[in-house]
Structures are given as structure tokens and as C-alpha cells.
């Protein structure tokens, strides 16, 4: 069973409790920091008492942007840039598609999307190994000492 959807209940919503406004103000402040000082930050939505209406208000106010991305590690992480550039919505799910944690990131790019430096180094070696397999005699294969 996955969340409320499996149970036949009628959910009556009675309006938000105003906390969405506080979150929006915090986003505004963080965005200003990003613009003025280049400082990135994030807000953990999981610990805040938000009602479904508060989520709706957040989503409506921020809108949809032009980037949607998904990372597959320890279950999916879904990311989209909101209609306010620099404001990202990052939701971590487990392998059962349940929400583990949810953040609003105010950043040039959410950290989880950037390739970790060591992965790039490992990637370079992996690529060289593949090239070596393709053509063991090529000077590029087997000799990873090329200085760029």
C-alpha cells in the first residue's frame, strides 16, 4: 500500500494555516542572498507544519520552470526548477516512492545534480579502459598520461 491513495477516504481540506507565507518570505530572503553574495541555501520542508493548501500556495506562487531532472540513487530524487529561476524543488524518495525529505534549494544548481569531482576522475579512468579495449595499440589506450 502506498500512502493515502489506497484507502477510500474523502479528504476535506479546510484551508492552509498561513505557514506558506513564511516559507515564501524565507525563499525571498535567500534569493536576495544568492543575487547579492552568491550564497546558496536550502529550506527543509519536511519539518514544517504545512497543510495541503500551503503546498498548493507554494506551488502556485513559485510556478513551473524549464528544468526537470531525476537522479536514481537510493530511490529516485526528483528535481525541478520553479518558475522563479534559482529556486529549485528537490524531493528525495525511497525505492517505494515514499517521500523521505523535501527541500527548496536556492542555488545556481542543486548540489545533487553536479557531478562529484571524484566521479569525474573515476570516469576518466573508465573511459580510458574502454578505449584500451577498443584499440589496445592506440597511443591513447593504455597510456593515461596525456597532458592537456
Amino acid at each position: 500500500m502506498n500512502g493515502l491513495n489506497g484507502i477510500g477516504v474523502k479528504v476535506v481540506h479546510v484551508g492552509g494555516n498561513g505557514n506558506a507565507h513564511a516559507v515564501l518570505r524565507e525563499i525571498e530572503a535567500r534569493l536576495q542572498l544568492l543575487v547579492e553574495k552568491g550564497e546558496e541555501g536550502s529550506i527543509d520542508l519536511s519539518g514544517l507544519p504545512l497543510m495541503p493548501e500551503d503546498y498548493d500556495l507554494l506551488e502556485e506562487t513559485l510556478g513551473e520552470g524549464e528544468v526537470v531532472a531525476e537522479v536514481h540513487s537510493l530511490g529516485p530524487t526528483r528535481i525541478h526548477e520553479t518558475g522563479i529561476p534559482g529556486v529549485w524543488w528537490v524531493t528525495h524518495y525511497n525505492s517505494d516512492d515514499e517521500v523521505l525529505a523535501e527541500f527548496i534549494e536556492v542555488a545556481w544548481c542543486p548540489e545533487i545534480l553536479l557531478t562529484p569531482e571524484d566521479d569525474v576522475k573515476d570516469g576518466l579512468e573508465a573511459l580510458r579502459a574502454r578505449l584500451f579495449e577498443l584499440n589496445p595499440k592506440s597511443p591513447l589506450g593504455g597510456a593515461p598520461s596525456l597532458d592537456l
Binding site: 500512502g3 493515502l4 476535506v12 479546510v14 494555516n17 498561513g18 505557514n19 513564511a22 516559507v23 524565507e26 541555501g41 536550502s42 529550506i43 527543509d44 519536511s46 519539518g47 514544517l48 507544519p49 504545512l50 497543510m51 537522479v71 540513487s73 537510493l74 530511490g75 530524487t77 528525495h92 525511497n94 525505492s95 517505494d96 515514499e98 517521500v99 523521505l100 525529505a101 527541500f103 548540489e111 545533487i112 562529484p116 569531482e117 571524484d118 566521479d119
Partner: protein, 361 residues
Amino acid sequence: MRDETLLDTLKRRGISRRGFLKFCATTASMLALPPAMAAEVAAALGKVRRPAVIWLSFQECTGCTESLTRAHSPSIESLIFDAISLDYHHTLQAASGHAAEEAREHSMKQDWGNYLLLVDGSIPLKDDGVYSTIAGISNLQMLKDAAAGAAAIVSVGTCAAYGGLPHANPNPTGAVSVSEIIKDKPIINVPGCPPIPAVLTGVLAHYLTFGAIPDLDDLGRPKAFFGESIHDRCYRRPFYDQGKFAKTFDDEGARNGWCLFELGCKGPTTHNACATTKWNGGTSWPVQSGHGCLGCSEPDFWDGGSFYKALSTPISPVTGAAAAAVAIGAAAGVAIGLANRQTKAAAKAAHQKATIADLEK
């Protein structure tokens, strides 16, 4: 494998650096740390060794173990459990009888002075503790023996923390909590009937991360999870502040989601993480499902009178603390939760930052 760090465990399970980042962000969120601390959590988790854990179950209903084994985020929480070495848990381990008891003794000897002891259930003292024994050893004796070699003790659930149901009036077995017996070890209380799984894994993650026990309140509970009352974080709070109360479980007010105070909600005097962490994978929690809080994470909640009597008309032992909490609650505004969180964030943000790359150097 005993010397393996958590980062090694994750790597062995084929988890990428991004996965580790996600793991740390989720753990920081679970620990109610500001997001900027995720990197610090990562730094610490990357270095710690797996602590040995011995889990003793005394006078209990196994509800605590049930709750924990149904932790909602298998991928994340099983990693926390993987990060410890659970050497003895008589419900979960494969071994039984003499083999099980030998495993316990062996693990205690091997990690004497360093293991973490988890206890669920209360300990009966009446009639030399005959009311609950394991392998012919009374709970009292087993607790004393195991506690002597423990680095710290976690009392899991209200029974171990405060005596719980067995301790309720008239307490026929003379049941007491762990802290009434053990006086010379650090004890972390994780009450709740049952406790929220994410809170226990959070406490374990904290111990793993910082190698120390978390900040505790005056009832021995980690402040990160029990620092605020249910009422402080309740989404029905605006109705409380406006004086809009449901009077029965099916009146107009109840249908409109108004405050359950008059139906006996103990949220104002109860400290727990239900309002934010929620239950069953974040699906809902008692108040969201239309029932008041029972106060299950507080001492003697069974003896506090009817679950359906409003706090302002307390019957016997609900004391001054209840009235005070209600008064403070009424004075503070809706944004209190947010404000508290930001103060905490500001305090914690001063910490130094580390990156994933630093870990592997």
C-alpha cells in the same frame, strides 16, 4: 567488517556519491538539523566505525520492535541499521535458546565498555523480579550485567523510559524504568507507545554521526525530537488560537478540522515528533486522523485520567505543568514552529562545512 566505516558499508552496497549525499541530506532532515549541516553529517558518517549494539527486551508487548521493523524508508533506515552491528535481539536474531544467550555474552565480552545497549520494556522488581525472566535470569539481573559494560543505554519506548503500561496503577509487578535502576551510565530515553521509528533511527544516526549522545531534556529525551510539544507543531493550532474547537467527534467543527482540545487532546503537554515526522511513512498522524493525542511519550500517561477529558478540566494528577504549557501555548503565535526552527538553524549554521570530497582524502 567490524572496522568498516559507514561510507565503506554504503560503497560495498554499490551506493554512489550522489546516493551518499542524499543519505546525508535525509539524515540531517531526520535529525532536524539545518540543511547546511548535511555536509557535516557526511563528514562524520564517512569516518565512524560500526558500534556494536545489544538489544534487551523486558516486560513489553513487542510493539516497539514492530514499530521499528516497519520503519517507512527501507533504503535509508536499513542503512542506519546496517551501520550498526546488532549482536543480540531475541525477536530478530536467528539464534535461539543457549546459542542466543552465548551470542549476547560473547558480544558483551568482546566490546566490553563500548557497546550501545538498547532496552525496551520495563523491569519488574516485586517478588525478586519473577514476573519476567529470560533463560532463567531475571530482567533486573540481566539489565545490571549488560549495563555494566555499556558505553550508553537507549531506553526504547515509554515502558523502558518511564515504566509505561506495566507501571500503571496498581502496578502489580512493581515495574520500573531503566533509569530507576541504572544510575552510572548515560541514558537516552526514546519514549512513545510505540516510539516513532524515525526517532530511534535518528538517535542512532546521531550517535553514529557525532559519537556522543544528543542533547537531552529534563526527562532524558533528545531535544531534537522532543524539544517541542505536539501542540507547538500541530497544523490545527490556528484553530486553537481562534478558539474553534470540535465538541464531538462528528460535529461540524470535527468535519472542518478544528482543534481537538475539548475532546481530550493532550498535545499541549506532550513532547514528541508526531506532528512533523508523522506516522506510516508520513501518511498521517493521530490528530490529522481526527483523534486527539494521548500523551504517550510522557511519564504516567496511563494514569493521567480519561483520554477524552480536556486538559483544562484535569482530573487527579495532571499538574501545574499542564496548565503552564497551555498558557504558554495560547500566548505564542502560529509561526512559532518556524521561528524556533530558524533560531536553531542560525545557531547550527555557524558550524564548519565539509564536503563529500573531503571524506575520501
